[in-house]
């Protein structure tokens, strides 16, 4: 960011020899040579970025006979509204006793009666049931404007929460293992890195076969290792295993990338420090704790931030492997943005999701700024 001033300092001598005409040529050439990139970045990055914020407050559609209108915060309130509704069990009007069904279960009024044009409860209008619990005799229902989106937010954060530490940590372990001068280490480094250059679409389809419930490679390998004791699982068809399965595959594909980043970080640590630690009699763990780890601080922040951003953007694996299913167990923020913005052609709603996504990414970037700030 300080380029201009650095160069001017370096060039003061040279600059003074230039005529006014030469300087004018330089300014014009500068703008001319930079203009294709400036024009393209403006049109295809900066303008769409601001359009996301504009569309999010309208009812813009991809194709529509009606003019676009400003709708205020409507899209965001649909995305993010959450309200609690506590239902009392139905009671027998004569006795005051709660009514029970044939299975001796309490009967509650239907949620629909509160959310469909009920003039007594305007705050619940249009909401849908997201989650429900029975607490005591009451039934607590969490209503939301868009339960599927909230599920996708939850899934995205859960994915990041698992993948970020595991992939970052495993990447560091791999880097430490291959950061030694012993024969054959280069071959292993290459192998660990290979999945990174394989497309995510290819990886996703390949792993569909690996995760297959009937002839899947993983089930067969697990049965082989346990001598047949293992019960085959339909990894992607089961709501409780689908997201973890995609997490494991994503880590497998991406960890080599971060191994390389960690390696670059390891190589910036001066060997003198290790020699000094050796002389002081530090053991392996102490060397790691007091020499390696402090030297990797900025690398660590960079690795964690890049994985977090990739994790937030989870889309390809979902689109190829599960399309968000089963039962929305794997739907994600970007998958929802594409579903609404592209498949349902609701550009405005898709843009609102994009804005929420950008706020997530921006928060992570700000945290990174804070963690790597210059400390005096």
């Amino acid at each position: 960011m300080t380029t201009a001033t650095e160069i001017s300092r370096k060039r003061t001598g040279f600059w003074a020899t230039l005529s006014l005409n030469d300087r004018r040529t330089e300014v014009i050439t500068g703008w001319l040579m930079a203009s294709p990139a400036i024009f393209l970045l403006l049109t295809f990055l900066i303008i769409p970025f601001f359009l996301a914020f504009v569309f999010a407050f309208t009812n813009q559609r991809l194709i529509s006979p009606n003019p676009t209108e400003y709708v205020g915060l409507r899209n965001f309130s649909r995305l993010l509204t959450v309200r609690l509704l506590i239902l009392e069990p139905l009671t027998n009007e004569a006795t005051g006793e709660p009514v029970r069904d044939e299975n001796n279960k309490l009967i509650y009024p239907r949620v629909r009666e509160f959310t469909r044009n009920n003039p007594d409860y305007p705050q619940y209008n249009g909401l849908k049931q997201w989650l429900a619990w029975n607490i005591g005799q009451k039934r607590w229902v969490l209503l939301a404007g868009d339960p599927v989106f909230l599920r996708s937010l939850y899934n995205t954060f859960l994915f990041a929460l698992v993948v970020v530490p595991v992939q970052g940590g495993l990447g560091l372990v791999l880097a430490l293992i291959v950061n030694q001068r012993t024969t054959g280490v280069n071959i292993f480094r290459t192998i660990y890195f290979m999945p990174v250059v394989v497309s995510l679409v290819v990886v996703s389809i390949l792993w569909r076969f690996i995760y297959d419930g009937q002839n899947g490679l993983l089930n067969n390998v697990l049965q082989f290792i346990t001598f047949g004791a293992f019960e085959p699982i339909d990894w992607l068809g089961n709501p409780s295993t689908a997201l973890p399965a995609i997490m494991a595959m994503s880590i497998w594909q991406g960890v080599g990338f971060h191994m390389v980043i960690w390696l670059a970080g390891l190589q910036t640590i001066p060997p003198v420090l290790y020699e000094a630690a050796s002389v002081e009699g530090a053991n392996g763990w102490q060397q790691f704790r007091y020499v390696t780890w402090p030297g990797l601080r900025n690398t660590a922040v960079f690795v964690l931030v890049t994985i977090t951003m990739q994790a937030f953007g989870l889309f390809t694996q979902i689109d190829v492997m599960t399309r968000g299913g089963p039962l929305n167990a794997t739907t994600t923020v970007i998958f929802q943005a594409v579903q609404r913005g592209f498949e349902k052609q609701d550009i405005a709603y898709g843009s609102a999701i994009s804005v929420v996504f950008f706020i997530m990414v921006l928060s992570v970037a700000l945290i990174q700024r804070y963690l790597t700030r210059e400390r005096d």
Partner: protein, 294 residues
């Protein structure tokens, strides 16, 4: 480093454990890819039978190119590959020109406003493509294009919709700027005194000494372009312009046999892997250099 001080027998024990661990990890990372390539030569029935034993990873049994023949017959696979080659190579080449030129202007030349421009370019790093994909979809669906039949509105279903938005790249510009700034300025000064124009300096002086950064940027743009998926599924519906990854997804949905799928996967993956193995150093250094971002 830890083993250095441990002498004799223990040293060997540690070494064996390390190699065992490395090999085990190697199996985890390599065997799925090996399985893909090996299976692409096997008939379907055998693929399924072999999954229950180590034969899944071995080129044994009835091997043939039958799956490849069928994968190319079932869908216009070669068309998808050519589309991707076209889109990727044009984007990479135009990207190298446009971004290096901008970087030259931003790092060597001096003009009013360059500081602001560079700051804005660096600020765009935090905008992931996913944020702008939806509004960009609307934008390109309305943009004008001069084609064979005069001016038409809408870029959907074309090559240029897959190319033009990705030519300029803020991170590429940043990498070029970093590199050009590290060059000795005397090079430029001497050429200038000899009366060379700025564009000549860019072409004759700067480009010839910037091979490494051009290679880095080419690699870093090639991979995501070849693997592109989110954008083309939205803007390309016609087979005519469909790139490989989207073609693969459609092919997969045809519900064809696994052998053919493995053949398709191998066809589009093995060349990239070979390229990677051949240019391994450059690949890994490019990735490592992206770590300096931010």
């Amino acid at each position: 480093m830890t083993v250095k001080r441990v002498k004799g027998r223990w040293h060997n024990v540690f070494l064996v454990i390390r190699y065992l661990l490395m090999t085990l990890l190697g199996v985890v990372f390599f065997f799925p890819i090996l399985f893909m390539v090996v299976s692409s030569f096997k008939p379907d029935l055998q693929i399924l039978q072999d999954t229950s034993s180590l034969r899944a990873f071995l080129p044994v049994g009835e091997l043939s190119f039958q799956n490849y023949v069928e994968a190319f017959e079932r869908a216009p696979t070669e068309r998808f590959i050519l589309n991707s080659l076209l889109v990727t190579s044009i984007t990479v080449i135009l990207g190298l020109v446009v971004n290096s030129m901008a970087a030259f202007a931003l790092s060597i030349l001096r003009w009013r406003g360059q500081g602001v421009v560079l700051s804005i370019i660096i600020a765009t790093f935090i905008v992931p493509f996913e944020t702008i994909a939806i509004p960009l979809l609307l934008l390109v669906s309305r943009l004008p294009w001069i084609g064979a039949d005069g001016i038409v509105f809408g870029w959907l279903n074309s090559y240029h919709v897959q190319i033009i938005p990705f030519i300029a790249n803020a991170f590429s510009i940043f990498l070029f700027v970093q590199f050009f700034k590290s060059l000795p300025f005397e090079l430029v000064e001497a050429a200038r005194i000899d009366g060379a124009g700025w564009f000549q300096i860019y072409r004759r002086i700067i480009i010839p000494v910037s091979g490494p950064v051009f290679a880095t940027v080419a690699i870093l743009t090639f991979l995501p372009m070849w693997n592109q998926y989110l954008w083309p599924i939205m803007v390309v519906q016609q087979e005519e312009y469909r790139p490989v990854m989207v073609g693969l997804q459609y092919f997969f949905q045809l519900n064809v046999a696994w052998g053919e799928i493995m053949a398709y996967l191998s066809t589009i993956t093995v060349p990239v892997l070979v390229l990677f193995l051949a240019l391994q150093r450059a690949f890994i250094e490019s990735i490592a250099s992206s770590g300096i971002k931010g």
